[in-house]
């Protein structure tokens, strides 16, 4: 019985490509981080694992695809369009806005349909979690069976045909690390969005509201903060970021637009949130980046097919060794 044939320990492969793996891992991690923010904000506010957040992300992917296909008129073809830097960025920006719109409204809808009635009834936290699982089923199956009837060519059991705006190619080499155009787009836009979110939560009046409700809902309400509005806006922020992440993900993995495409990424993003300290915004960002990088190292070390296992084992280990995550949990205490 030879386990060795299934698991390799390719230490050389890891060290030879160390920086390349790190940069690539960062671009994965940026996507995880954006999705993780949605988990972490909602958890910090409601103590709820928003299991259906991965489906919000998935809807965002379809939103991005819809924008490219129906609004901008690109069709799936084998070749890239190569419209030049300015136009490509413009088109991607439009697609991202649309994806954010779709995911953001889906997140608000989810909150309104599923979670708000439960809050009114003071349900137990298990009830919330089961509702979240139920909504996750509903959204997935909606895309699998109902969406193809509404918009032909969308949803169903097969992934969408990829639309390639621009061929990924190396832009510059930096100490032996080839940085491709998609990597640049992913990392830069994720960075901008992360900074914006951080400023919104830590510097604005509205962000203070979120932190207040997370810390002590009753007192926050007495101080004139509308809890319901804060919760809704938090879901909106999570949805918007998931939508943005969805577009970046479709840039990286153009063939991943499928009804079940959000599940694994959602679990990983949640792991990232836990890794950094759930309920903690900067923790989610840090955790996302770390998870992306670690996953890449693990993949180089053990082989491609163990990539997902690395993520899950990491999650279990973090929970066992430091259940509060690297930066500690709690949005309310707002570590700055």
């Amino acid at each position: 019985m030879n386990l060795a044939a299934n698991i390799t320990f390719n230490v050389g492969g890891l060290f030879d490509n160390f920086w390349q793996l790190t940069i690539d891992g960062l671009s994965w991690g940026a996507i995880y981080a954006l999705v993780a923010v949605g988990y972490t904000l909602v958890f910090g506010l409601l103590r709820l694992i928003n299991f259906a957040h991965s489906e919000i992300f998935m809807l965002g992917m379809f939103g991005a695809y819809f924008a490219l296909d129906m609004i901008l008129g690109f069709t799936p073809s084998g070749n890239a369009y190569n419209k030049g830097v300015f136009l490509t960025v413009l088109y991607l920006g439009i697609a991202m806005l649309f994806a954010m719109l779709v995911a953001g409204s889906a997140a608000i809808g989810l909150e309104f349909i599923a979670y708000r009635p439960l809050r009114k009834r003071n349900a137990r936290s298990l009830t919330f979690l089961i509702t979240a699982i139920g909504m996750s089923f509903v959204i997935q199956q909606f895309v699998l069976f109902i969406l193809p009837k509404l918009i032909s060519g969308y949803g169903g059991p097969n992934a969408q045909q990829p639309i390639t705006l621009v061929q990924p190619k190396t832009q510059f080499t930096f100490f032996g690390v080839a940085v491709s155009n998609t990597t640049i787009v992913v990392i830069v836009s994720a960075l901008v969005l992360a900074v914006l979110t951080d400023v919104a939560i830590n510097r604005t009046k509205f962000g203070r509201g979120i932190r207040a409700v997370a810390q002590d809902p009753a007192t926050a309400t007495l101080m004139g903060v509308s809890r319901e509005r804060i919760i809704m806006t938090t879901f909106l922020i999570g949805g918007l970021l998931a939508g943005a992440a969805a577009l970046l993900y479709t840039l990286k993995v153009p063939q991943g637009i499928i009804y079940s495409g959000g599940f694994l990424l959602g679990i990983k993003a949640f792991s990232a949130a836990v890794l950094g300290g759930i309920g903690n915004l900067r923790g989610a960002l840090l955790g996302g980046l770390l998870l992306g990088i670690m996953e890449n190292y693990g993949q180089a070390l053990f082989g491609t097919q163990w990539r997902d296992v690395v993520a899950f084992v990491l999650l279990v280990l973090v929970l066992l060794i430091r259940p509060t995550g690297i930066l500690g949990e709690s949005l309310g205490k707002a570590r700055v």
């Binding site: 019985m1 030879n2 386990l3 044939a5 299934n6 103590r47 694992i49 349909i113 599923a114 009635p117 439960l118 009834r121 349900a123 137990r124 936290s125 298990l126 009830t127 919330f128 979690l129 089961i130 509702t131 699982i133 139920g134 909504m135 996750s136 089923f137 509903v138 997935q140 199956q141 909606f142 069976f145 109902i146 009837k149 599940f263 679990i267 949640f270 792991s271 836990v274 097919q305 163990w306 997902d308 296992v309 899950f312 084992v313 999650l315 279990v316 929970l319 066992l320 259940p323």
Partner: protein, 392 residues
């Protein structure tokens, strides 16, 4: 709308109350009548119950397996209050234990002329082994993770379930990877001219008493055994400790309940029952492959428990019946060009959401808080205020 809803729930409540007021012997009599009716249903299938698209015996065999799972998961989720989203992992471990020990494609095959097991009895001797291995898996998983808070436990178990599937998928040299393991052993019982490999063989596929029906009967016997075991546990010190942990872990700890130990017990017992069901599955289908043990099935198991009513072992069996029967019944029924049988996850998802809003305790809720005090206490509390006064 709400008037209808109230009438419905009132009628339902009266039915549940009627059942609660029955004495234990009366419940047993009803139980035995119901059991006989259910056991005979594949032979004398009423036409309104039949599943036109698929063998009714096979459906009932599937029901028996999911019912065992629901009872096992109910110990973990319903009684001890530990949300386990990776229960399918235990199901997989049970199924793969049997498969690895008896499939000719496995490197650890112990069947055949030189093997340890003799072919006719291989499956039966693997069942306790599968349960033991699964229980051990539960212990190994539970020992580090059960100290975690509820929500985290849910995610860790989810990760566990996914890791088990990925292992089955990736360890190609042992598990044969995505191709799966074939020709798994099954009990060679009641061999005859007509059924040369016994009634449990897949070749016995015709008529009402096909192999599905026989597996269903075997499953029913196992269910009764498990129910007796779990029922006794429920009424014992262990069961009371579980309820205490579920209702308020801190309070239980303060009262001297070793919460970690009892949680571990619940996890291990639940895992063993899941393993049993997996062994049953491996024997009936005689083939295991990783996609069967997808996380979405884990959610479906949870759905059975939640639908039936967490903490009520008979309720979750009915929940399992709903989960298995409805999709099979609706298979082949078309609506707007969609096969309704395929929409099971959509409907169950909707059912979960609606149920959580209007009836979070499930269709057949357990009398949770009062369970520990037995019927006498419940009657006292349910009585009208005037009757509650002690006699002067």
């Amino acid at each position: 709308m709400s008037a209808i809803q109230e009438r419905l729930s009132a009628t339902w409540q009266r039915l549940l109350d009627w059942w609660d007021r029955l004495s234990r012997p009366q419940k047993w009599v009803f139980g035995i009548i119901l059991f006989t009716a259910v056991a005979l249903s594949p032979i004398f299938t009423p036409s309104f119950l039949d599943t036109p698209g698929i063998s009714f015996g096979g459906t009932m065999a599937q029901f028996a397996m999911i019912a065992i799972i629901a009872v096992g998961l109910n110990v973990v989720v319903g009684q001890a209050g530990l949300l386990d989203l990776g229960y399918v992992g235990f199901y997989a471990v049970g199924a793969y234990t049997v498969a690895l020990l008896t499939s000719p494609e496995s490197p650890w095959n112990k069947m055949g002329p030189t093997g340890f097991f003799s072919a006719p009895w291989a499956w039966l001797s693997c069942v306790p082994l599968a349960m033991a291995v699964t229980a051990l898996t539960g212990l190994i998983l539970g020992f580090p993770t059960l100290r975690l808070r509820g929500d985290y436990l849910a995610i860790v178990t989810l990760g566990f379930g996914e890791i088990i599937r990925l292992l089955a998928d990736n360890l190609g040299d042992i598990t044969n990877g995505p191709r799966g393991l074939n020709e798994i052993a099954f009990p060679h019982l009641l061999e005859s001219q007509q059924h040369p490999e016994g009634v449990f063989s897949a070749s016995n596929s015709r008529g009402d008493a096909n192999y599905g029906t026989w597996w269903f009967w075997l499953g029913l016997v196992l269910i009764v055994g498990i129910l007796l075991l779990v029922g006794n546990l429920e009424r014992s010190r262990v069961g009371r400790a579980w309820i205490a942990v579920r209702e308020d872990e801190d309070a239980a700890e303060v009262m001297g309940v070793n919460t970690f130990r009892f949680k571990l017990w619940a996890f291990t017992i639940g895992a063993a029952i899941g393993g049993l069901s997996g062994a049953l599955y491996a024997g009936q289908v005689q083939y295991v492959a990783p996609p069967t043990f997808n996380i979405i099935n884990s959610m479906l198991f949870l759905c059975a428990v939640v639908l039936g009513g967490q903490g009520n072992k008979l309720g979750v069996i009915l929940g399992a019946f709903i989960i298995v029967y409805l999709p099979n019944r609706l298979l082949g029924v078309h609506f707007l060009g969609i096969d309704v049988g395929n929409l099971k996850y959509l409907f169950f998802g909707l059912a979960l959401v609606v149920l959580m809003i209007f009836r979070p305790q499930g269709l057949f809720p357990a009398r949770q808080q009062l369970l520990a005090y037995r019927n006498a206490a419940r009657e006292l509390l349910m009585a009208r205020p005037s009757e509650k006064e002690p006699a002067q």
